[in-house]
């Protein structure tokens, strides 16, 4: 009986030692993966802010107003041509 317990414990120590190594390895692999994903995320974020800035530069009120007035010939309607829907 004692022998059985001894061998059981011996084997489980052996297995758990292996498990430690394996999970260490897994943890590293996952860490590398998350690093890569975070890097991707940061790059996308960076691109997004750049695009956001670009968009807001194209869409500055000064530019829109200049285009509307000068290129498209738009103007504010005067009261006499307004139609109100009720």
């Amino acid at each position: 009986m004692k022998n059985v317990i001894f061998w059981l414990l011996f084997i489980s120590i052996f297995i758990s030692a292996l498990e430690v190594v394996i999970s260490r390895h897994d943890a590293r692999k996952l860490f590398v993966e998350i690093q890569m994903l975070e890097k991707t995320r940061d790059n996308l974020n960076e691109e997004w802010t750049r695009l956001l800035l670009e968009q807001s530069t194209w869409a500055t009120d000064v530019r829109i107003e200049a285009i509307a007035r000068n290129e498209l010939g738009m103007k504010l309607p005067v009261d006499s041509v307004l139609v109100i829907e009720k």
Partner: protein, 575 residues
């Protein structure tokens, strides 16, 4: 002599060899124990120090947006070039292309590096664009590396510069809302441990020590479109009248939110090289002035509150001036006997003074104090001035008479705008907020709703024909407001030829939504009256703002009779 087949035993030699082996084994074992157990910590530490590095993971500072989510301040990744002087100087690489990229000469670059030879980390140039960073790295100079940092961009530029403020090169708020909400916006960079090789390249990521936490985004109550409109019109007015400066504040009367706040002169927050500190000041909250005639509605409100006056009460302002002590109070001309409403419409100093003198001495001060004069608005804006309102209860007659038309106290544009809310909101004063407000706001009842409505009606007449503020009129909307032309206080009295032009008003009168105050500092042209300089700005900005905020018109007499189309055709008439 030796007999074949019988081995010769050299006992001593055998023992010698064996003991040598044994000694060697013990030595090795001892060495192993020494390395693995006794000196382990020391060795591990040094090993780690040579290969393991803790590196920072940069994190975003929060974005500042307007009420519709348009960006007003955004952080974006840029590169900074740094070097280890020892390694750069130790290599034989030609440094002239690097110096050219850094806008400096080889001699200066070498000098800079030599002076800092003992350090491991020296910035060569911070915040460079990605293209330049790539070119520098392509040269492959030993000891030169890149670091990622954030740079703050302000898409609205000078239009919102005073309000937003700016950050320094290390991403900490320095002015304006960037400073006020620095704790909310700021990010904390994370840390991770990495394994690096001899050349400083990251070989492996070991573990994360702390995760980077980006700053929170901040949604302001500002409307960028109205901000732009207000800035454009204010700038145009300041230039047209060769004024020293000006500021404008617009508040939402339902929530107390600041919809727009602009100042002149302004600066470009994206390029602050050689800018004077004077330009950074947000005049709308830091500069105080005497409000002059724009204060009269509060005098009238106090009179109505006292119960002794109604809008129809007649006041004798003849002959257009009167003496209090040895001080003479004047009107522009003799208005004769006029009612309280006309005192506002014509902006009669004599009328306002006579009303104030007939009241309990402390009443006017109490109303003004309740309306927020003399204390900061609590907006939390850095450097906000509280203005001045004498705490004394013993007003001299002259003091009281001049207080009635706005001298002897000082206010900021923001304070005046907040105080005008009480006429626009049936007597409620709401806390000022730069942040988007969700849900209902509770205000403080300063005057009764009835009296607020009466003053509102009077203020509307001031913008009608023959009123002082008729140029503030907005087509299709009913507006109310009060002009002010203030002699600037100079050392030794009031200046004869330096003025402030003011206009404070709100619209639409039916159900006021927006309050706006405009102050223009020292207009130098022929025109300097508030009704000539500030009122037109009110009209232009309010016209645009009402349209942009989708506020329905309350004054369409022409349209009511003429063209009102049905929303959809009745179903039967489609054939």
């Amino acid at each position: 002599m030796t007999e074949p087949g019988k081995p010769v035993v050299y006992e001593k030699r055998r023992w010698l060899v064996l003991s040598l082996y044994l000694a060697g084994m013990f030595l090795l074992m001892w060495r192993a124990v020494d390395l693995q157990v006794i000196s382990k910590d020391f060795l591990q530490e040094h090993g780690d120090a040579r290969a393991l590095r803790v590196v920072q993971i940069p994190a975003h500072r929060g974005m500042i947006m307007d009420r519709n989510g348009e960006p007003l301040a955004v952080s974006t990744l840029v590169n900074s070039i740094w070097a280890t002087p020892r390694r750069v100087l130790g290599s034989d690489v030609d440094l002239s292309p690097l110096a050219a990229y850094l806008d400096t000469s080889v001699e200066e670059l070498v000098k800079l590096l030599k002076e800092r030879i003992g350090r491991d980390f020296v910035y060569l140039k911070r915040h460079v664009n990605p293209a330049l960073a790539d070119q520098v790295m392509a040269m492959n100079i030993p000891g030169v590396s890149l670091e990622q940092e954030f740079r703050r961009y302000y898409p609205a530029g000078e239009v919102a510069a005073h309000l937003i403020g700016f950050t320094n090169i290390d991403d900490a708020g320095q002015e304006g809302l960037e400073l006020a909400y620095n704790e909310w916006l700021k990010s904390s960079p994370g840390k991770k441990r990495v394994l690096k090789d001899r050349l400083g390249r990251t070989v492996e990521n070991i573990e994360s020590i702390s995760t980077p936490s980006p700053g929170e985004n901040l949604a302001l109550s500002i409307d960028r479109r109205i901000q732009y409109l207000a800035y454009r019109e204010l700038k145009a007015a300041v230039q047209a009248h060769s004024a020293r400066g000006g500021s404008l504040v617009m508040l939402d009367t339902k929530t107390g939110e600041v919809v727009s706040m602009v100042g002149q002169p302004s600066y470009n927050p994206n390029n602050r090289s050689d800018m004077k500190g004077e330009y950074y000041r947000n005049r709308a909250v830091t500069d105080v002035f005497e409000p002059g005639s724009t204060l009269k509605p509060f005098t009238i409100a106090t009179a109505l509150e006292s119960g002794a006056y109604t809008p129809m009460t007649m006041i004798d302002t003849r002959p257009g001036y009167f003496k209090v002590g040895n001080h003479t109070i004047r009107d522009i001309r003799n208005y004769g006997v006029i009612d309280v409403a006309t005192v506002i419409k014509k902006s009669s100093n004599v009328g306002a003074s006579k009303i104030a003198l007939s009241l309990e001495p402390n009443q006017l001060r109490k109303t003004l104090s309740n309306a927020g004069f003399g204390v900061a608005t609590g907006s939390g804006f850095p450097g906000e001035a509280s203005g001045y309102l004498s705490a004394s209860n013993n007003w001299s007659e002259v003091g009281l008479a001049t207080l009635a038309f706005g001298y002897g106290l000082s206010v900021t544009v923001l304070q005046l705008a907040q105080a005008y809310q009480i006429f626009a909101t049936d007597g409620l004063m709401l806390p000022v907020s730069f942040i988007k407000v969700n849900g209902p706001v509770t205000g403080k009842q300063v005057i009764t709703a009835e009296h607020a409505k009466q003053v509102r009606t009077m203020l509307e007449t001031a913008v009608e024909k023959e009123g002082t503020g008729q140029r503030a009129a907005v087509s299709s909307y009913r507006v109310a407001g009060k002009t002010g032309t203030v002699h600037k206080a100079t050392s030794g009295g009031y200046s004869e030829d330096r003025y402030l032009s003011l206009f404070a008003g709100f619209a639409p009168v039916e159900d006021p939504r927006l309050v706006m105050v405009i102050m223009i500092d020292e207009p130098k042209g022929q025109q300097y009256y508030g009704g000539q300089v500030a009122a037109p700005v009110f009209s232009k900005v309010m016209t645009g703002a009402l349209r942009l905020m989708d506020i329905p018109p309350d004054n369409l007499p022409g349209l009511k009779d003429n063209i009102i189309a049905g929303k959809t055709q009745p179903a039967g008439s489609l054939e």
